[in-house]
């Protein structure tokens, strides 16, 4: 029986405006203290929209805190511990903030000195303002959805996978929600809901979404 959706999926891209906030850390203790103090938006910026700014490149430390302690302080131990944090495990940003602080505190309790910047740059805290931009593209079928995902600006994938779920506090990402509620494809929706967007770049995420849709569309639904 053909599936007839009653509402199309409207794609929304986004543009990020970076804003500097008046906090700067020169050592790891200050970093932890300031992470505790800054608005949650700033924690979001340094852990989530990192992906928006690195849409293609992989293999670097996946958040600004890990990147800074490795590149500017040279503390690879803390960098590795911060890099392995999976924000997907912390749907609440406050929980994520606590986890980061707890890792830094634990690291400092085992370190005889407080590692600080000697030759590098201090950590500058930022936050961002996200502007939603409706693209005027609407998908009514899975095939249309798949084809549009292949061509849209990568910020659209960021918006529907990261922003919708984590900052706008929707229960699941927009893609899986629409496939579940409008197309009625529950297994496919579950598969897309459980894709961890933090495992790789936005371009890798785009590829995975396309692959999952293709597997379903070509009848290879056993893999779904």
């Amino acid at each position: 029986m053909p599936i007839v959706p009653d509402a199309p999926f409207a794609f929304i891209g986004c543009s990020e405006l970076q804003e500097s906030i008046a906090h700067q850390a020169d050592d790891e203790k200050e970093l932890a203290e300031l992470i505790e103090e800054v608005p949650l938006d700033s924690v979001h910026f340094h852990t989530h929209s990192y992906f928006l700014r690195h849409g293609l490149i992989e293999g670097t430390y996946p958040n600004d805190f890990a990147q800074w302690v490795v590149m500017q302080i040279g503390d690879h131990v803390l960098g590795e511990r911060l890099a392995v944090i999976d924000p997907f495990d912390y749907p609440d940003l406050e929980d994520l903030r606590e986890e980061i602080i707890s890792i830094i505190d634990d690291h400092l309790s085992r370190t005889p000195i407080i590692p600080r910047v000697v030759f590098g740059q201090p950590f500058h805290f930022k936050r961002s303002r996200i502007l939603e931009v409706p693209l005027g593209l609407e998908a009514r079928t899975l095939q249309e959805f798949r084809d549009m995902v292949a061509d849209i600006d990568v910020s659209t994938i960021y918006f529907h996978m990261f922003e919708a779920h984590f900052r706008l506090r929707r229960e699941e990402n927009d893609f899986s929600a629409w496939i579940r509620s409008r197309l009625g494809l529950l297994k496919l929706a579950d598969r897309i809901r459980t894709i961890n967007p933090y495992q790789g770049s936005l371009e890798r995420l785009r590829s995975r979404l396309i692959t999952v849709c293709d597997e379903f569309l070509t009848g290879d639904s056993a893999r779904i």
């Binding site: 543009s15 804003e19 490149i57 600006d153 659209t156």
Partner: protein, 399 residues
């Protein structure tokens, strides 16, 4: 369809041009005024020449006005620029008076009304005293990390009257009680400096400059200035030369009427000695095609500066698929993804070590060069800067 923007479809990331059309729907009909001090010369003017027509083609009433100044005024603002970037400069009360009187004269002549007014750098910053409507943004392209106190105090009085300031890097900003946004500068991939070039065109230019086409080329493009550390580049080259039969090209604009530049040039020639593989090339002020050809011919690009603005020559080289070995100065490290698109180094030895490593690994150089081009495509092209400016126009309310 719109030609000014559509030309970028093949060079910008997938979906970007369509995204910009939709973004512009949100700001169509709004007016945007850019104000600066020069129409030609410098990266800012280069980008505005392209950016303003692009904004117009998207339905934004964009204008670009240039301040009219006297010779005396330009001497004053040049001194102010040096002082704001931390150099020793004596600026007298009379000089500040000259600045203020030129600002007043321009305020009467220029039409300053717009929904958004973006004032670039310190030269026209005082015009904010004559603001009428709209949102006023001060766009700072300078490194204000360690300004001379008196010059900054003078400028700060004006900056506080803006609705927000925009810096290229967090580290360039001073403490201010107004919002501070961050917008990276960008390169135009279709400009003469960055457009694609055919092999014969490149060959012709490289031959004319007297450079070997067969030897691996280490290249630094920078003004002949101690802050760019060209002597450090020669030292790093010598560390590489022990293992590779390579050449070093130091290319920069001329040093006419610049005693410091002439002194640096003399030191460089002395340091190069009789090594015919060191090429010190003085280029005319807008030698865009020569720079393009040099960057395309380079094997590894070096940016060994000890003090730098944003350093867009790094992005220019990366756009041409070259791995860049750069220092941590200014915006260099913000452009290089260490170990992925090139290397960030902290010393002459580091520069020599990394260049040697790259010359030993042609496959790695190719991979890094390809990643470098993609990184620039997504982060440092003019289409991204256009996106930032349109977003500002939408997000910031007129005060």
């Amino acid at each position: 369809m719109n030609s000014a923007l559509d030309e970028y479809r093949d060079v910008s990331p997938k979906g970007t041009v369509d995204f910009l059309y939709r973004l512009s729907d949100l700001v169509k009909g709004k007016s945007f005024l850019h104000l600066n001090a020069v129409r030609y010369g410098g990266g800012m003017s280069e980008v505005l020449r392209r950016l303003v027509p692009m904004m117009v083609s998207l339905g934004v009433e964009a204008r670009w006005e240039v301040l009219a100044g006297t010779q005396e005024y330009f001497i004053v603002v040049n001194r102010m620029m040096n002082a704001l970037q931390g150099r020793d400069e004596k600026i007298t009360d009379d000089m500040y008076h000259t600045y203020s009187s030129i600002i007043e004269r321009n305020a009467k002549a220029l039409k300053l009304e717009a929904d958004m007014v973006m004032v670039h750098d310190h030269q026209p910053a005082g015009l904010v005293d004559y603001r009428t409507n709209g949102c006023w943004l001060w766009r700072c392209h300078l490194d204000l990390a360690q300004p001379q106190r008196r010059a900054w105090t003078f400028l700060r009085r004006s900056v506080l009257k803006y609705d927000a300031a925009i810096f290229s890097l967090s580290g360039f900003a001073q403490r201010l009680p107004i919002p501070k946004f961050l917008v990276y500068p960008s390169i135009d991939p279709l400009s003469p400096k960055n457009r694609e070039m055919g092999r014969s065109e490149i060959t012709q230019i490289i031959d004319r400059l007297g450079i070997h086409r067969t030897k691996p080329m280490l290249l630094q493009v920078a003004r002949f200035d101690r802050f760019k550390d060209p002597l450090g580049a020669i030292q790093a080259y010598r560390l590489v030369k022990k293992h590779h039969d390579c050449q070093l090209v130091l290319a920069g604009s001329g040093v006419m009427h610049d005693p410091e530049g002439e002194a640096v040039l003399a030191e460089l020639r002395e340091s190069a000695g009789r090594d015919s593989d060191i090429h010190v090339i003085q280029l005319p002020p807008e030698a865009d095609l020569e720079i393009n050809a040099l960057q395309r011919s380079a094997t590894v690009v070096l940016q060994k500066s000890i003090k730098e603005g944003f350093g867009l020559t790094v992005s220019e080289a990366m756009w041409k698929g070259k791995p860049v070995v750069g220092s941590t100065a200014g915006g260099i490290a913000a452009q290089i993804v260490d170990g992925v698109t090139g290397y960030v180094v902290h010393s002459v030895e580091g520069a020599g070590f990394r260049m040697r490593h790259l010359l030993n690994n042609p496959g790695l150089m190719n991979r890094m060069g390809a990643m470098a081009r993609e990184h620039v495509r997504r982060n440092f092209l003019i289409t991204r800067q256009l996106c930032d400016y349109l977003t500002l126009l939408k997000v910031l309310p007129a005060s």
